[in-house]
């Protein structure tokens, strides 16, 4: 009898609709919460009372300490890109275009997106875990009782740091990726060093670099605000902090990819 009831519950349209509705509400609530936190952050950013020391500290955590990871990701991506593109271009005897392809694809797309993904995994998770722990141990309430706005104290420094550091890390990733491609192109594919560098830079136009860097700027904002939002909304002890961390990474990755598609579409038509 119990099995029959379980089965009825599983196939019940009403239960499905309830779950669907609850899921939709969660998504809208999250989107609204992130938008409101973004608004509050921007308002406080304009108020000029910014904690620069904490911002520099966050720049070190978000930017400098992410360098090794970004280096490795960009370096190997550059190498793989060179090998895979040469494999296809060889069919058309067009191997010399390898460097064009690497520089354009890195600057327009892969540099900012890969950097954002790596930083979302590393920094987004750490922001959500740190703020989530502060939330469940009432440290964020304690900040309010000490007449300090938690958004000003915690979010604004992370937001500024992420904006600028993603920008700089992306420039760094573009260069390292091209260097990875250079090693393969010169030592494996037999291109001359001069040819690789000349073709690589000639293929680039200012728009390629600028659009990539504009994206990076926005990705930094997304990663920091999403991480802070899920940290602030964590509840229920260690499990809640774990859930907040996972959600922060998943949501920032989805938002990075979705906004990348949006930006690419906008820049295509501009």
């Amino acid at each position: 009898m119990t099995d029959w009831n379980d089965l009825r519950r599983t196939v019940s349209v009403r239960v499905w609709l309830q779950k669907f509705g609850a899921g939709c509400l969660d998504i809208f609530q999250g989107a609204g919460g992130i938008a409101l936190l973004f608004r509050d952050t921007c308002v406080l950013l304009a108020s000029k009372r910014i904690r620069w020391r904490a911002t520099l500290d966050q720049m070190n955590k978000i930017g400098v300490q992410s360098l090794p990871l970004v280096f490795l990701t960009a370096f190997f991506t550059g190498m793989v890109l060179a090998l895979q593109s040469a494999y296809q271009l060889r069919l058309f005897s067009a191997q010399q275009f390898t460097s064009d392809l690497i520089s354009v694809s890195l600057c327009r797309e892969l540099g900012p997106v890969l950097t954002a993904m790596v930083v979302a995994g590393r920094v987004g998770a750490s922001i959500a875990a740190e703020l989530g722990t502060m939330k469940v141990t009432e440290q964020i309430d304690a900040l309010s009782t000490l007449a300090t706005n938690p958004v000003r104290y915690l979010v604004v420094p992370r937001f500024i740091a992420a904006l600028f550091m993603l920008f700089i890390l992306t420039i760094y990733a573009d260069c390292i990726g091209m260097f990875g491609g250079y090693l393969i192109a010169v030592f494996k594919l037999g291109m001359s060093s001069h040819e690789y560098i000349m073709r690589g830079f000639k293929a680039l136009v200012v728009k390629d670099v600028v659009t990539g860097l504009i994206k990076a700027f926005f990705f930094g904002g997304i990663i920091s605000v999403v991480g802070c939002y899920f940290g602030f909304t964590a509840r229920g002890g260690a499990e809640g902090v774990g859930r907040a961390t996972t959600l922060a990474v998943v949501v920032s990755l989805i938002m990075v990819i979705a906004s990348d598609a949006l930006f690419s579409a906008i820049f295509y038509f501009i």
Binding site: E138, Q139, A142, S144, T145, A147, T148
Partner: protein, 256 residues
């Protein structure tokens, strides 16, 4: 004077506070008792204006924090100090930075003056030589004392204590009780203590109020509460496993 008028609070469909009315006089220590999860801490957070009520108002010296702008609210909050259940010290700051937090953030006092004030407050709570330690290296009792030093650093007019003796051994719990009494004597503040530790309640209270099912069901001096004819209050203060509170809970569980 604090006037709590008809506070209602819902969390989703859960109606936590169902019209709390309470008036707290100048220089009084009031202890709010009640079972875990009955909304005592929620009430305290309303007094601090960390949470906003769905209905009702709280007036402190005639003014309501809920109708203020956020900056005015922050200024007003400096009149209040709060000791959290787990002390809620900032992990990334030293004891000195924790205790002097509001002075560092909101005043232009020199580092030296702040350090002196911090040492003075730490001495008031019976701690010396810990100012350069990180909170992680302190014991539970010490954390509570540092939390109290932080709450009084700004010389507040009202101190709120959220379960100050929970999780402490009986000796440390009594040390905290003594501290609450000495704060009262030295600073002449309004103290609001939320607890379910009856020993602590009898020791520190001028008046005790019992919160049950989102309402204040009884209020009086410790003696009046001890001799209250209300069976619910009697079951709670005697800590009996059988009585109207548990009977009602059992019926609710059965109906589910």
């Amino acid at each position: 004077m604090i006037q709590i008028q008809g506070i209602h609070k819902w969390f989703g469909t859960h109606h936590v506070l169902k019209g709390v009315d309470l008036t707290i006089k100048e220089g009084e220590t009031i202890v709010i008792i009640g079972r875990s999860g009955c909304g005592k801490s929620v009430l305290l957070k309303h007094i601090m204006a960390i949470l906003e009520p769905d209905e009702g108002d709280i007036r402190i010296d005639g003014s309501s924090m809920f109708s203020m702008k956020s900056e005015e609210q922050d200024q007003f909050r400096l009149k209040l100090g709060m000791l959290f259940q787990g002390a809620a010290l900032f992990d990334s700051l030293t004891v000195r930075e924790n205790v002097g937090f509001s002075l560092l953030e909101h005043t232009k006092l020199s580092e030296e003056t702040i350090s002196q004030k911090v040492l003075e407050k730490l001495r008031m709570v019976g701690l010396e030589g810990v100012e350069n330690l990180m909170p992680a290296s302190l014991s539970g009792g010490m954390k509570k004392r540092v939390g109290l030093a932080r709450a009084i650093c700004n010389e507040p007019e009202i101190i709120l204590y959220d379960e100050p003796t929970t999780g402490l051994d009986p000796i440390n719990a009594d040390v905290i009780n003594e501290l609450i009494l000495s704060m009262q004597k030295q600073l002449e503040v309004i103290s609001i203590v939320v607890t379910h530790d009856m020993t602590s309640a009898y020791k520190v209270a001028d008046r005790i109020a019992m919160l049950y099912e989102g309402r204040i069901i009884g209020i009086g001096t410790p003696d009046e509460i001890k001799n209250s004819p209300d069976p619910i209050i009697q079951q709670f203060i005697t800590g009996s496993a059988r009585g109207p509170i548990t009977d009602k809970q059992q019926k609710e569980t059965e109906s589910l």
